[in-house]
Symmetry: C5
Subunit: 103 residues, 5 copies
């Protein structure tokens, strides 16, 4: 299951009928925003557990519910990791640690 | 569910018979183009919700439809994040942070 | 569904019996080579649609076929994006193909 | 299956009823923390095998259990790879590149 | 299906009963080590095809086997791509760029 943060509810007026009675939440998975079906009543700012894959359907209440990401629990206490900087710090330090001069 | 942007319809004349009656859309998932079955009638430029995994089959109308990505809703209002630059741009340079000649 | 390019057929003499009667193709998904079951008769160089997840089984012809990636359609016309270079091109070519003078 | 390290148990008081009787563990998959259902009684620090996808449900004890990640075995001996630094280590320290005294 | 290289067998004494009668292999998927159920009798060093997702269960011999990654074929001949260096290595070093003497 993923550990994600609830951002805000999502409004989608034009959607397939099967989605009708559930709340949708925008969640932050790392740095990517996704949409999850909310089965627990989470609030923006909550850290929650999301189940994906085929189990998300049953977690949303029914095997035929078309969810691939469902909020199944609110975490009591969570200390998020500091954000990962995938890009290296481009500090103009003169000591090029891993490359050598390009030309 | 993924939050993606519709790019354009996809034309594939030579395909398996099971795909026949549904519209296919090219969608942009982050910086990757994928193909989704359109169950809601989206237009290029729309921000939409896509369901993946096994739920994409039922969302496309039938448990036996061979989809792994189905557009299930159009988002009413969406402000996309600014594009992630895999290249760093935290540089304190005052001008053109992500293009231009570096020196 | 993924948009991938067919590279070449794959030969695997020692394999499980369930794989026997289908053609396998090496495909290029971004910069990663994968193997797909070919349900449409694609040729090397074709841009094709691949379905993954549980839908790949039915797309390969039977719910019990053990595929997780099946070619389901040939795209009529496709303009690939320019390759994403996560790593800089190490080529010593003098003609900087993608961006500005480095020094 | 994934090779992950157990970090600690996860406490989630407000969760869906289906999750009730199983232990949840925070695990480290590469540099990402996830939550797994523990089917073997792992301890923090153990290197374990996690099964994902639809098989995680049956591995958790029942086809209707809504897990997408289940710990199915403890690895007897495991030498983890040195951490991949996608970003170069910015520390200018001349010694002990990846461990050192934490305090 | 994934194209991976077999590294070595995996020993896990404490595991769920459902895993008992199959060989487990550590495989290298790109630069990530995973565990696969071996359905073909692969040896360390073999390049093999692995099926993931729900198809991995049937490929392992039974729909209820809890595998999400199963080796389904040995590739007759495979030329791996040169390793992708996420970190640049355009250094013009004259000597053995990616291995060095193992002993």
């Amino acid at each position: 299951m993923l550990i994600v943060k609830v951002v805000k509810p999502l409004v989608s007026t034009n959607r397939i009928p099967d989605f009708e009675h559930k709340h949708l939440q925008v969640v932050l998975d790392g740095s990517t925003k996704k949409v999850a079906v909310d089965a627990v009543g989470a609030k923006p700012g909550d850290w929650v557990i999301c189940v994906s894959s085929s189990a998300a359907r049953e977690a949303a209440g029914s095997k035929s519910y078309p969810s691939d990401l469902t909020i199944v629990g609110i975490i009591d206490h969570w200390e998020p990791d500091p954000p990962k900087t995938s890009a290296p710090s481009p500090s103009p330090s003169p000591s090029n640690p891993q490359g050598g001069k390009p030309s």
